[in-house]
Each structure stands twice: as structure tokens, then as C-alpha cells.
């Protein structure tokens, strides 16, 4: 009977999407270890079998760095995990990162044909598996490098855009030096994204992979202060600026000076980069609030609210002025936050912070909102309901309503054209700025976006830089 059924229906459609085992919410909300454990080889091969190897794969069109998705999945299906990582490396220097933090549901997986009737292939999970397997069990291999060209490229910023540019150009035979302002490489991957979502060891491993390929890292170098872009241009043939947005945005309401009010950048940098969650073993402290409110509805807000739980919060609120439908965070992040017990106060807008005489935060006064007509962004505009003021008792507030353009580098670089918000104007197809031999990409061009979009911008810029270095244009 079972045999007959197998013959009738094509085998591929019968395998359900393989779930990634993960820490149960009640356990993980108390620790900083990574939430999903990752696929076993068996689960990965089973999931890979679901891919029907489309002739004209749509998933690939959804990938900002154009990974040959069906090809790497085919290697996994056949159990050739080294083949899979080699295929990924052709287009992506950071597969272990992308497999974890890309919004696959609106990119590759969002276009997968299986998704029309069933669930799409778990492309992100498979990418992560291939990278993790290589890191933990793989042979000591590197992709092939082109002959040295003798050209030198400076990459400013070691976040996703900069690492992508470095990885691409080193393979093409150029000398690459990355300048990083902080004491550890990785940019937002290290200071911003928490350990439980992206273990720092993985970021360091990906950076180490670039080091083994020959990329030089100069840490604690604040370009704009330590050295200017013009000085770099004297030593390098081309400069790529991928410094990120990096300017905290505050709510601009009274009481933001109270002790316990943090920008998301500060809260996450303390916890992630400085490992304040492990204070006093590490020296950097952080307020371990019992009642924490995070303002905003994006991925950074989810990261902060979930960090607060792990730091011991009894209540971790997300306070967001629109409704759930308008939240910009990945669905998976909202889901994880909810599972862990983050409480969502939607259609709620803060008016002022309250504090005591010693300067400590004690609460926040809010207004309830309702949705009115759509605004310029197409989202329905939240309108305050008169007289709806109420107060929430909190001892910690994290403001995660976006980032602005940090002017430290741009102000010290004459010849760069900036838009009215201070972001660098660059050609969207090539990353070329108005300043000769200078390219830019990622959040310092687009404003705060995602890791993979920064990587996509890095890819376009590296292609353009390579053309310039080899052909002169």
C-alpha cells in the first residue's frame, strides 16, 4: 500500500519543510545562547530533496548577491557539503551570517515556486547548514584566488557591506585593507545583532576566513579622525565607504536624560560588543531593568526587547505607535519575541519619561493612538486619541526608532555629495560617489536597512571597483 502511494505521487512534494530544532522559549529567554540549533546533516539532506531544481530559478532573482541557490542545494542533497560551501563562496563571503539574519521570506524563499501551494524550500536554513558544517567539520580549504593585480583597496567599515567588498576584491587579486573604528571586526554584526541571534564566534570565523584569504584588518582606526579619506587615497587606488548609519535617533521627548534611558545602539553595544550581560566578569556594566520598554517595531527593537528578558526583565514591553501590520520587523523575529514573553503595546506613543530625584527613570507617559489615513509611506498614520494619557512603570527604556547618518567621516571628506539627511549620494548601480576613486554602499547610502541589502550594495560596488582597477573605468 505504502509502496503504491510512493509511486503515484512525486516523492518531492511529500516531504514537509523540515523544522529547525530550537531552544524552547521558556529556557532560551534566560540565556544568550543561539535560539535555533541548526539542521543535522540528515535534516539538511531531507530538506534539500524538496528543491525541484527549477530550470529558471526564481529564488535566485530574489537574492541580492545572486547565489546559485539550486546548485548549492543540489550538493547538499547529494551529501557533498564541501561542494555546497564552494558554490556559496562563489557569491557570498558570509554564508553563516546570511543563513541566520537574511529576511528570506521576502527574498529567495518568497519567490520559491513551492511556496505557491506549499511551504517554500528552507533556503536560509540550508545556507546556514552548509556554512556551519564547513566551520565545524570541513577541511581547511579556500576558494581559488586570481593572480595579484598590484592594486590596493581600502575598505572603511567592517560591517556586511565592507566585508562583502573585501571578500570579492581579494578573490579578484587585489590587495585589501579593512579599517574598523571599533576594537573588533564585524560592524553591526558584532555590536548590534545579539549573541542569541548571531553568535559572535561565527562573525569572527567569517572575518578569519577573509584574513586567511589575505585581507588585512586595521582595528580601532576611526577614519575621519585617525586618518582622512584623502590620506587613504594617497596610499590606495580605491576606497570603499561602508561605515553604516551609526547615529542614534532619540524620541525628543522630555526626560531622555534619566538614568536607564538608552539608545538601542548603546544598549546593544554594551550587551553585545562589550559583553555587559556577563558583568562583572566583563568590566562594562548595563542596567538590568526589571520593567523594560523598547520603543519601535523593527528588528532592532525585537533584539533589544529579547535582550532585556535575558538580562532578567520581568516585563519587556514593545511600545509601537502603529499596529502590528505596520511593524517592519521580520515575521520570525516578532514570533520569537512573542514566544519568549515580550509584551506588545501597540498603537501607543510615548509623551514623556518620568524620573526620581536621583535621576533614575521610573516610568513613561503614553498616549493611545488610532489609525487614520495613509501617510507618505503608504502606511496608515497613527493619530493620538485625545485624553487617553496613561503611565507605565518602567526602570529601563530602549529607543529603537531608527538611525541617522553619522557625520564623523562625511564631514571630514571634501568632495563627497550628501543628500539632505546626510547620507552619501552614490550611483545605485555601481556605488560610485561624486568623489573620484571613492565608492560607498550600505546604510550610509540608503539609511538603516538590512544586512543583505548592504551586502548587495557591496557586491555592486566591488564589481565597479574591479572594472575601474582593471580597465580604468
Amino acid at each position: 500500500m505504502a509502496e503504491e502511494e510512493k509511486e503515484k505521487a512525486p516523492k518531492k512534494e511529500k516531504i514537509p519543510r523540515q523544522k529547525m530544532p530550537e531552544q524552547p522559549p521558556e529556557v532560551r529567554r534566560k540565556n544568550f545562547e543561539e535560539v535555533p540549533y541548526g539542521y543535522t546533516p540528515e535534516l539538511a539532506m531531507k530538506e534539500a530533496e524538496r528543491c525541484i531544481q527549477c530550470k529558471d530559478p526564481r529564488c535566485r532573482q530574489g537574492c541580492p548577491v545572486e547565489i546559485d541557490i539550486p546548485a548549492f542545494i543540489k550538493f547538499i542533497k547529494e551529501g557533498d557539503f564541501e561542494g555546497a560551501i564552494r558554490k556559496l563562496w562563489e557569491k557570498n563571503s558570509l554564508p553563516a551570517v546570511c543563513g541566520r539574519v537574511c529576511p528570506q521570506e521576502i527574498q529567495c524563499e518568497g519567490l520559491c515556486v513551492l511556496g505557491k501551494k506549499d511551504e517554500p524550500v528552507a533556503i536560509g536554513n540550508l545556507e546556514r547548514f552548509a556554512a556551519d558544517y564547513q566551520r565545524l567539520h570541513g577541511r581547511d580549504i579556500l576558494p581559488p584566488k586570481a593572480e595579484p593585480t598590484g592594486k590596493k583597496v581600502a575598505v572603511v567599515g567592517s560591517g556586511p557591506a565592507g566585508l562583502t567588498v573585501a571578500g570579492d576584491l581579494i578573490l579578484k587579486g587585489h590587495e585589501v585593507t579593512i579599517f574598523e573604528a571599533l576594537h573588533a571586526p564585524g560592524g553591526v554584526l558584532v555590536y548590534g545583532i545579539p549573541e542569541f541571534r548571531l553568535p559572535k564566534e561565527i562573525v569572527f570565523h567569517e572575518c578569519n576566513y577573509l584574513k586567511r584569504l589575505g585581507v588585512k584588518f586595521e582595528l580601532s582606526q576611526v577614519i575621519g579622525r585617525s586618518e582622512t579619506v584623502d590620506e587613504l587615497l594617497e596610499r590606495f587606488d580605491a576606497v570603499f565607504l561602508g561605515v553604516g548609519a551609526g547615529l542614534p535617533v532619540f524620541l525628543k521627548i522630555p526626560g531622555e536624560h534619566y538614568i536607564g534611558v538608552y539608545s538601542a545602539n548603546e544598549y546593544l553595544t554594551r550587551s553585545n560588543l562589550m559583553k555587559a550581560y556577563d558583568f562583572p566578569n566583563y568590566d562594562t556594566p548595563i542596567v538590568r531593568g526589571k520593567r523594560v520598554a523598547t520603543f519601535g517595531g523593527g528588528n532592532v527593537a525585537m533584539d533589544a526587547a529579547r535582550t532585556a528578558l535575558r538580562l532578567g526583565a520581568e516585563h519587556s514591553y514593545i511600545i509601537y505607535r502603529r499596529s502590528r501590520a505596520e511593524m517592519p520587523a521580520r515575521a520570525a523575529e516578532i514570533h520569537h519575541a512573542e514566544e519568549e514573553g515580550v509584551e506588545f503595546l501597540l498603537l501607543t506613543n510615548p509623551v514623556r519619561f518620568l524620573g526620581n530625584e536621583e535621576g533614575f527613570l521610573t516610568g513613561v507617559e503614553c498616549l493611545r493612538m488610532e489609525l487614520g489615513e495613509p501617510d507618505a509611506s503608504g502606511r496608515r498614520r497613527p493619530v493620538p486619541i485625545p485624553g487617553s494619557e496613561f503611565t507605565i512603570e518602567i526602570d529601563t527604556a530602549v529607543i529603537a526608532i531608527g538611525s541617522g547618518a553619522n557625520p564623523l567621516l562625511t564631514r571630514s571628506t571634501p568632495g563627497l555629495a550628501l543628500n539632505k539627511w546626510g547620507y552619501i549620494i552614490a550611483d545605485p548601480k555601481t556605488g560610485k560617489t561624486m568623489k573620484p576613486r571613492v565608492w560607498a554602499g550600505g546604510d550610509i547610502v540608503t539609511g538603516a536597512a538590512t544586512v543583505i541589502l548592504a551586502m548587495g550594495a557591496g557586491r555592486l560596488a566591488s564589481n565597479s571597483i574591479h572594472d575601474f582597477l582593471t580597465m580604468g573605468w
Partner: protein
Amino acid sequence: MFEIVEREEMAQGTIISNWIRAPKIAQKAKPGQFVILRANEKGERIPLTMADTDPERGLINVIFMVVGKSTALFKTLKVGDSYQDVIGPLGQPTHLEKVGKVVCVGGGTGIAVLHPITRGLKQIGNHVISIIGARSKDLLILEDKMRAVSHELYVCTDDGSYGHHGFVTDMLKKVLEENKDLGLAVCIGPVPMMKFCSLMTKDYGVKTLVSLNPIMVDGTGMCGCCRVQVGGQMKFACVDGPEFDGHQVDFDELTLRLRSYLPQEKLSYDLFKAQLGGACSCGS
């Protein structure tokens, strides 16, 4: 790694001076700018305004008071030891200009920060009156160096053990009374000192610079931890400062924010002292 090539204990070992090998920073640094130091992998990022530089030897000088775990840890570093990270120069350099007659007021380790600024003001042709102070004679630093870069130098001690008996503000009042042609005051030291100096100079209409020392993390304008209210606007000391118009700064808010981590700082320092002492911290 950033090696310590010279080290001196001042003020009975409560204040430490380090000359650190950091050639790139030494080349670039200007008076008023700061560096961020981290002793080791687990360390905090501590901002310190540079006290001096020696570009030819590739050295920078920082002078700090031991106030908690991180500075106590810095104190344990000997000549030949290294800081894991030194980042800089950060912040805006002092805007040095010739205004005629200036008064430079320094208290505690603020004198170390004040010294290169005073020197710069004298070099460009100002008449410099300096006032430095400490709690007692034993805690006073850099008197000779300050004398060398000032036309007039007044020393004050809170307990009267040396120089004028009283606060620097007392002497500042006298100087303000006697010199109606002052074009600038630079006041650097503990927050209450800067606050009261600024209140006083405001009465006399003398433009005043102060150098602020709020808590920082990255030092590049990314985290906003060092935000201060200046003239009713939020400024970041790390990129907009560390120097600001003393008449515009909200010192009370700065004082509150400097207390953000007092309990944690105490815990961390106590654990470290116990570790240094090699015994438990139960007090026996």
C-alpha cells in the same frame, strides 16, 4: 598593542601618568582631544583626554586618577606592559585663538588636560593667568609644567596646606575682579568646580570653555551615551565636544548621568581589590 614606555605615580599614587607608544595618534593629536583605552579583552573602553604628545618619539601622555576598577587596572600596568587598544585622536581640538588675556583654571586631574591648552594659548601670544588647585599639597600635580606655560600662576589647596587656602573659585573671583580685560576662561576639573567657575565667569561676561567627561562607549557618535544638554540642545561630548561653552552646559544633568552605574562600579571595584589583595573582601 600599545606599550607603556614611561610611567609615573603622582599625588601619592592616586594619580598615574603613562607615556604610551601610539605613533599614528601622536602625529595627529591636538590639544583638547581624547583617546579611548582598553586594557584587555574584558576591559571597559575608558575615554581620557590627552595630557601631552611627543610626535617625534611617537608617544602620547595620559594622566588619570584611580577611581574604580578600570583605572585601578590601568594602574597595575607597568613600563613594558601594553594597553590592548588605544583609539584616537577623538573629539574636537580646542579652538585656540589670540584674545589678549586668558585665565586657565584647573582642578585635580583636570590640570593634566588643561596644560596643553594653556601652552597653546600662550604660544599664540595670549597673556596667560593660571589657577590650579587640589584638596591638599600632596595631591597637587603638574605645578612646574603649568608655571612654565603661564605668565602668572596661582595655586590653591582646599585645606590650606600649600598656596592659597581655599577653592580655585575664590582665586578666580579675585582674578576676574582685577582683570577686566579677560577674553577667555578655560576651566577643567571636577564637575562642581566647572559648574561654579562657569557661574562666576558668566556674571563677569567672560566666555568660558569647559571640558566634559561623561560616560562613553564607542566615542564616535554612535551610541549617544555621552549626551549632554548644551543651550537646551542634545550634544554628544565624543564628537561635538569634549569642550563646550560653560555658560550653556547643564551641569546638574551631567552630574546625575555620571552616577548611572555607581552600584555596579562599586561591585566591580570591590571584586578587583579583593583579587589584587589575594584575599576575600569580607573585611577581615
